[in-house]
Symmetry: D2
Subunit: 346 residues, 4 copies
C-alpha cells in the first residue's frame, strides 16, 4: 500500500503521518521522489481500511493498494517514478536510471592475472566504460573447470580499480564470501543460477551494496521481480535487473535467447533500472554488437559486455568475448546511437 503526500507538505506533518501509521503491524518506508514524498507500507495491509488512512491527514493526496505480488519493486510503489541508483566510483558517481546516460560495464569473464585485468580495465576506461566486470568466483557447469581465482582475484580487481578509477562489478556465489566481495565490489552481482538462492539474496541485500540481479535461465518476469523483492525487503533499495538471455528449445546457433521485450514490459511493472548482457545471451562475440545496439533501441539503462585481451586463450567464455579492438569499435557505434536515443554521454 502506498500513501502519496501532497507537494509542499511540511516535513513535520509527514513525520506525524508516519508516526500515526506506526500503530499498524506493517513495515513503513519513506521514499523521497523528485516531486513527491511517498510512504510505502508492506505487510498485512489487507485488513487496513483505506478511508482510515486517508483521514490521518488532509496532506494525503491518495492511498493506493499495490496489487502486484512484488510490492517494493512495483512501479506503483514509487508512484511511477523510476529509481536512480547512484554508485560512487573513483572516477565519480555513476547513476543507473531512465533519466541518465547509458552505462557500459565491460571486462573479462574471469580475472586471470594482474596484467590482463589491468590492461582490459584500461581499454574499457579509454573507450568510455564506467565499470569493470570480472569474475573472482565463477559458477561453472563442471567441477573440473576453472573455478575462478577467488579472493586473490578480488585483490587484482582492486588494483584495476585503482589503476583506472573504474567501478567494480563482481559476482558472489556463497553467503560466506559476501564480506570479502563487498569490500572490493562497487556493485555485487548475483548470477542467473543463484537468482532464486534466497539466502544469498537476503544476505547480499543486507550488505547495503548495490546489487546486480541477473535473470534466471528460465525465470518468469514475475519470479525475477520477486527475487528483487527479497533484496528490497532486506532494506536495500539499490537493485539493477540484468537480462542475460533465457533458455529455449533452440540452442544450435545461440547459447540463450535474448528477451529484449522485457525492457518495455518491465517499464510498466517496475521502477528498477535495467541492464542487458548480450554476451551471455548470444554466446558468440559476432552477434554481440548487433544485439547491444538493439538493447539501446529498446531503452536499456546499461550494457554488460565481455571483453578479453585474447579471447581464444580465455580461461572461460572465450567465444562470447570481444577483442579490445572490437570493443573499441562497438563503443564508437554505441556513443552516437545512445545520443540518438537521448541517452548520450556514455
Amino acid at each position: 500500500m502506498i500513501i502519496v503526500i501532497k507537494p509542499q507538505t511540511p516535513t513535520m506533518e509527514i513525520d506525524r503521518i508516519v508516526n500515526e501509521l506506526s500503530q499498524y503491524p506493517v513495515s513503513i518506508e519513506r521514499l523521497q521522489g523528485k516531486y513527491k514524498v511517498v510512504i510505502g507500507l508492506v505487510g498485512e495491509t489487507n485488513s487496513i481500511n483505506l478511508d482510515n488512512i486517508q483521514q490521518i491527514s488532509s496532506c494525503i493526496e491518495q492511498v493506493i493498494r499495490v496489487k502486484q505480488p512484488f510490492k517494493r519493486a512495483s512501479l506503483e510503489y514509487r508512484f511511477g517514478e523510476p529509481s536512480e541508483i547512484a554508485v560512487s566510483t573513483p572516477n565519480g558517481i555513476v547513476t543507473f536510471g531512465q533519466n541518465h546516460p547509458l552505462v557500459v560495464v565491460a571486462g573479462p569473464c574471469s580475472v586471470e592475472n594482474e596484467e590482463m585485468i589491468v590492461e582490459t580495465a584500461q581499454v574499457v576506461k579509454a573507450a568510455g566504460g564506467k565499470f569493470l566486470r570480472g569474475g573472482a568466483y565463477k559458477p561453472r557447469t563442471s567441477p573440473y573447470a576453472f573455478q575462478g581465482h577467488g579472493e586473490s582475484a578480488l585483490h587484482l580487481l582492486a588494483k584495476a580499480r585503482e589503476a583506472t578509477g573504474l567501478g567494480i562489478i563482481t559476482e558472489v556465489m556463497d553467503t560466506s564470501d559476501l564480506e570479502v566481495v563487498a569490500e572490493v565490489a562497487d556493485v555485487v552481482q548475483i548470477g542467473a543460477r543463484n537468482m532464486q538462492n534466497f539466502s544469498l539474496l537476503k544476505k547480499a541485500g543486507a550488505t547495503g551494496k548495490p546489487i546486480l540481479l541477473k535473470r534466471g535461465m528460465s525465470a518468469t518476469i514475475e519470479e525475477w521481480l520477486m527475487a528483487a523483492e527479497y533484496i528490497l525487503a532486506s532494506g536495500n533499495p539499490n537493485v539493477i535487473l540484468c537480462e542475460r538471455g533465457i533458455r529455449n528449445f533452440d540452442r544450435q546457433y545461440t547459447r540463450n535467447t535474448l528477451d529484449l521485450s522485457v525492457v518495455p514490459v518491465l517499464r510498466t511493472l517496475t521502477h528498477l533500472p535495467i541492464m542487458i548482457d548480450p554476451s551471455h545471451a548470444t554466446g558468440y562475440s559476432q552477434y554481440v554488437p548487433t544485439m547491444a545496439k538493439a538493447a539501446i533501441a529498446v531503452g536499456t539503462d546499461a550494457l554488460m559486455i565481455e571483453v578479453h585481451p585474447n579471447p581464444s586463450s580465455a580461461l572461460c567464455d572465450g567465444p562470447q568475448s570481444l577483442t579490445p579492438a572490437d570493443f573499441v569499435e562497438l563503443m564508437q557505434e554505441i556513443h552516437p546511437l545512445a545520443q540518438y536515443f537521448g541517452r548520450g554521454k556514455v
Copy 2:
C-alpha cells in the same frame, strides 16, 4: 554443391559447363549474382568428385560443397550474396533485401469490410508503408471464433490495392484456396501454424508468387530454413522469412518472445530477406513501437505491423493493433531511424 564461375566468362562457356553437368543426376540452377555467376547443384552430390567438376573448364573459379542441410537457402549457395526479392505493385517495384530500404507492411489482422480495409490502406500508404496486410482466411484457435470472410475479403483487398497502389500480403491456409489467393496477393503468406504444412509449402512455392514464411511457434532456425527450402526446391526463389515470436515458459506479459537475435544469426546462414512482426510477437500494441525500433537496430529488411481503425472493436487481435494515429507516430520515428542505419527512404 556450388560452382563459382570466373568473372568475364563468356555465356557460351557457361552454357557448355551447364551442359557438361547435365550428365550428373542432380538438379541444376544458374544464379546470376551482382559480380559472378554461380551454378548450384542439388541432389545426390556426395558421389560427385570435386576435381572432376573443376576440370570441366578453366573458367571455374571454385567448387564448394554446401554442408548445411538447407542447400538453396544457404548463404554459400549464392556465394555470400544476399537475395533481392523485387515485387511489382501498382506504385512500382518494391525490393526486399539487405541493400535496399526497409519495407513496411501494415494493416489489420483481418479484412472486416470495404470501408475499414480501404481506410486502413490509405493510412498505411500516407505514412510510407509499401504493402497492406489483411487476412481473408484466419487461423483461429477456436472453431467458434471469426474465421475470416474468405473469398469475398480477397475482393476487398483487391479494391484497397486499386485505391492506394499498395501491394497485398495475405495468408493462405488450404492448398485448395491457393489459386484465388495468388490472384490477389502480391506476396502469399504462410502462417506460423502451417510452417511445416509441407503440402502447402510445395504447392504455394509452385505458384511462383513471392512467399512470406512465418516462423513456427517453436520451430528451430534450422527447421525454419528447411521449410524455406521446400519452397525454393519447388523452383521459387522468392522467400521472405518472418520472425513473429516464439513460444516460451513465460506468457504472462507478452504473447510470445520476439527472438531478435535470429537476424544476425540468419545473416551468417542464409541469403534470404528477413521481416520482423512485433505485433504478433508481443501481443500488445503498447510494446510494438519499441520492438519495431529494435528490429531496425538489428538490421531487419522489413517490418509487419498490425493497424486497425478501431482496435477495441476488431474482430481479431485487437489488443496488438495500433490505432492509425499511433501507426503514423511510429512511422515518423521509423523513417529517421532507418536512415540512421542506412536503410532509409522507407
Copy 3:
C-alpha cells in the same frame, strides 16, 4: 450449454424438447449416453436464460453452461461419460474408450514395399495388435528426404489389411488427398505439425472417419482440445487424442519429452479417448518399452508403437523403431500389465 434429460423420459418428449430448442440460434446435438440422454447446444448461448430452458419440460433434470472454450470436447458436454469410439475392422469392431481394453497400434514409420508392410502387419497381428500404422504421405523436415510413396502406399496398406484383418491408421497431410486416404484408412491421422492446420481439421472431420489427432510439438492442452473441437464441430464425434512428446530445452538424449501427466489431466477435461506414442516421444527404441509400460500405468486407452522388420535400413525413423522380436517381447509384457490395470485382453 448442455441439457440433461431425466432417465425414462419418452422419446417423444425428447423430440418435443429438441423442437422447442430449435427457436434458438444455436446448433443442437443429441447424445445418447449409457444412462442418460444429454442435449448439447453450441453457439451464442450466453444470451439464453437457463430458467427459460428449464421450463420447457419437467423431464429436464439439469441445465449446465460449459465454461471451457472447448464445448463438445469437454467432459461436461457428455455429462461426465467417456466417449467410446468403435471402429470396424475386418477382424471385428475395436473400441477405443476408458471402459474398454487397451488398443495397440503398431507398424513402420512409412510403407516401403509390399513385403515389408505385409510382414510387419502379420507380426503386429500375431502379437495382439489391432491396428497397423504406416505412412503413405510423410511430413519430413527436409524436401530432399523420402516423402513417402503416396497413393501407391495406400494400396499396399489395403493389401496388408486384407492379409491380416487389421484396421489401418495412416496420415493425411493435404486436403486434396483426403478422399484417397479416407478410402483406405479406418482411422485418419492428423500429424503433430498439422495440429493447427484448421482447413485440414475441418475437412478431415467432414469425411466422417474417426480421426487420430496428434498433439502439436508445443501445443498447450487447451489448444489441442480446441483443435479437436474443430473436428467435433464439423459433425464428427470420433476423435482420439494422441500425445507424442512435446518440445523442450533438452534434446540431447530424447527427441521430445513424453508428457504422461496429460492423461490424468485430460480425464478431468474431456470425454475423448487417449493414445500414447512413446516411439516419437523418445526417439530411441531402447526407451520405448519402459515408456509404453508407464503409459499403461497412467491409464492410456491406446498405444502407438513403431515396428520395422529391419530398423537400421528403414527409410525413416529407424532409431525409434522396435524390431519384430522386441515388439513381440514388449507385447508379452504389455498383456499382463494391461490386465493388472483392468484393461486386459488387448
Copy 4:
C-alpha cells in the same frame, strides 16, 4: 579413466597398482563392486597412455576412458554396476538402489508444529514409508511468504524421528546452515532452485551426508549430472537424483511437466539411484497417485510424496499434498505394484 581389475586379484597387487598410479597427477578412487574392483582416475587423464597403464599389471582386465563430461557420475565409472546408498535410520538401514525395494519418502512441505509433524510421521510409518520429509528452511518465491521455522523445525524433525524411527530428509539452502541441518538430516536435500548453487554442492558434499539432488527447473540431464559430479568430486559418493518436473510452455493444468523418460535415459548414463517427486511435478494432489504409479512402472528407486494432515490449511503447497487417508490408499496400491515390478517389500 577407469581401470578394471580381474576377479580374484589379491589385495596386495591392487595396492601395488594404486601405488604405481600415484605417479600420475590425478585423483585416484578405489571402488569395490559386487564382482570386481574398479579404480577410477579423474583429472588430466588425456595425457596418460592407455598401454602404459595396462602394462602396470597382468591383473588389469581393461582400461577405459570415460568420454562423458561427468566422470564419477558415469555408468562407466562403476563399470556398469549401480550404486547402492545405504542410509542408517532408527528403524534400520534403508538402501536406495536398483536392486533394492522401492523406498517411499513422505511428509509435509514444511514443518509447522510438533503435533502435525509427529502425526504425519506416524501416518507415513504405518503406511510403509521409510523417510519423513519436511522443510525447516523453505525456498519461497515471495519474501513475504512463510519461510519455514528454521532451526526450531529441525528439532521437531528430530522428535518425529525419535517417535517413529523414520529417517529424515530436509532441505538446506545456505552453506551457513549446513552444520545444523546435517546434524538432524539422514539425507540432506538440495532443492531445484539451488541445483547450480555450486558452493552449496561442494560444501554439502563435504559433510559426507547422503545428498538428495533435485533437478533444476530447466536443467538439462547433462547439467544435472554435472551438478551431481560436484558432490561426488567433493569425496561424497552418496547422491540420489530427484526428478520433480521441468518447466514448460503449458502451465495451465500442471505446475511442471514430470519428465519420466529421464529414468530409462539415466540408466544408460549413470549408476546413481533415482527418486521421483510427483507432488511438485504436477502441483495438484489429484494427479499424484497416477503419476506415482507411472514412476514405479519406469523403475524409479524411490518416491517422494507430500502428505499433510489438513492440506487446505497448509502453510505451503497445500494443493499438491495428499491427505493421510489418500496417502494410505495410495500406499495400498503402491505395495502390490512395486511387487509386480520386482521392487516389493516397500
